[in-house]
Symmetry: C2
Subunit: 338 residues, 2 copies
Amino acid sequence: MVSIKDIAKKAGVSISTVSYALNGSNKVTDETSSKILAIAKELNYVPNAAARTLKKRESKILGVFLTDFSGDVYGDLLSGMKTVCNAQGYDLIVCSGKQSHRMLPERMIDGAVILDHTFASEELLQYADRGHKIVVLDRELHHPNINQVLLDNKAGATLAMEHLIELGHTKIYVVTGPEGSFDSAQRMKAVRQVTEREANVEWIEIVGDFEKSGGEQAAELIIQEYTRPAAVFCLNDEMAIGLCNRLAESELQIGRDIDVIGFDNIELSKYVQPRLVTIDYSKRKWGSLAAEQLIKIIAGEPVDHERIYVTLVEGGSVCRQVPQDIPFPIRHERVVSS
Amino acid sequence: MVSIKDIAKKAGVSISTVSYALNGSNKVTDETSSKILAIAKELNYVPNAAARTLKKRESKILGVFLTDFSGDVYGDLLSGMKTVCNAQGYDLIVCSGKQSHRMLPERMIDGAVILDHTFASEELLQYADRGHKIVVLDRELHHPNINQVLLDNKAGATLAMEHLIELGHTKIYVVTGPEGSFDSAQRMKAVRQVTEREANVEWIEIVGDFEKSGGEQAAELIIQEYTRPAAVFCLNDEMAIGLCNRLAESELQIGRDIDVIGFDNIELSKYVQPRLVTIDYSKRKWGSLAAEQLIKIIAGEPVDHERIYVTLVEGGSVCRQVPQDIPFPIRHERVVSS
DNA sequence: TTGTAAGCGTTATCAA
DNA sequence: TTGATAACGCTTACAA
């Protein structure tokens, strides 16, 4: 490995002169500087990141932690983060899994964006106490070294519920996320608030898991006890799509016999038939804002907590309810079980 | 920041003793060792990654480089890689973009898996020459420090073409990937080989880009000059889905008037109507094999190049061609242009 | 403008 | 079994 020592030797100067030249300092003559640069290039010199990080006590790398790599939500989110990071002279790395948590305390990265419930909040607070900078996307946490950039879950869930109620629904199934999910809890809170205001609206909670399988299981339940009209608010699209898949095998037609609404507007939701009604937000914006906030707190600049706004996306999975006199017959014994 | 120096001072021993104790060496008494460990815990000691990497000349981190974060292919691939990495004591980080290339030469990572055409092959060869270990997933490259784990593109494309030919097709549109894509070039080579064997099969090349938009544009062309029977082999699913989307707006019915086949079996292809016929392979296997190979070449173990096998997935987007006497009329002026 | 030297936090060699 | 010490490659006062 060629180091600045090798360059110094070859150029007949000291290592500090080499360091200055390499870093574009004006403390050194253009002449010596260009000579050093030429030699560096000739020797294929590449600085050693570990040495630089050790000395400067910063790596200029930011990390984002995800529960897993397979979420559809992540593409634009990461892309938004990367754009901001690169523009500000930072590199971005994506990490997942317990093992990689050490990157933050061991100072491999200068800061972390967390969208990963496998980080305990106490763990994050501990890191923050030791001076590490963190932006959380999946919980509320108050600490001078932690900033939050959260979805407006409440607005989204309210939008979804009110949409269904407005169309005439009085019985709404709500399929939740897994226990401990912040997003799920926030969305549920909004569901409760809306239904408290609306005396004639009944809602039934079905515990889900934010995965397709949870939606499928919810569909089973709903098919069993179906009475029309019925509507389902799945607290994310993944479950909504699982639910639609299962429903498609039954006699219930989505958007006619049963209305479905999701949350997240993942790409797939455009492709299910009929198009899934869902809550949309800019994943790219979410990412870029998170990165911006992280870089700011690293720089010691003051930041406020940020919120990502949401909108409702229309589609065929929800339909105005007209009073029906002909009850739709369901013969349970004929329901196809996949 | 608390370092081993602080622990040494508090424990009344030297830093080397602390280092030994912390690393579980048996050169030190259980008594002193446990005392040191207790103090380390009490002081919230966390080792400094940069210092360790600098000294040991290895980071125990592997990097995987992707062109962008938004591919559907990546979820399982990364997950497979991570599993292997973690089991072998390595951490995995995901990187994207020109800026992050430096991670390898600057020795932030011990090796790299490349699925990113923004790396020039000369660049990779240069790194390999300097002793860096690399596994490539998107090109052929021969160097003692480079290993390849490639899809069996040839088998996949042959499977697809033969499937269409077997069903009676004699005119096949082939929508390619972008220029310079290794996968596209390999798949095209197989297309040519198959058609050379089959004298009565005509094929028409349409240059694509591996994106949905490329498929849409190809659809326009095909709709314009449509004569039945027609079949399209899109060299990846993304384009096949773009093509299907555009076709759905026309009068041509997929799987009846026109057959479509893709490559990759991304999740979306399950959801398009009718289900896309495509070439499948285990993305998880691909990732785990890549990680295994990388770790082996880092350890100096000999490795052979590996190949990922493929299969054909059936679906409704392809249908047996029966001789038709009634020509299907297309009125170009009525084609809906989105 | 350039050089000397200290130090970042480890590991590891060699003595004691 | 433990301790002094050099070294990893770099940055940066401070001195010349």
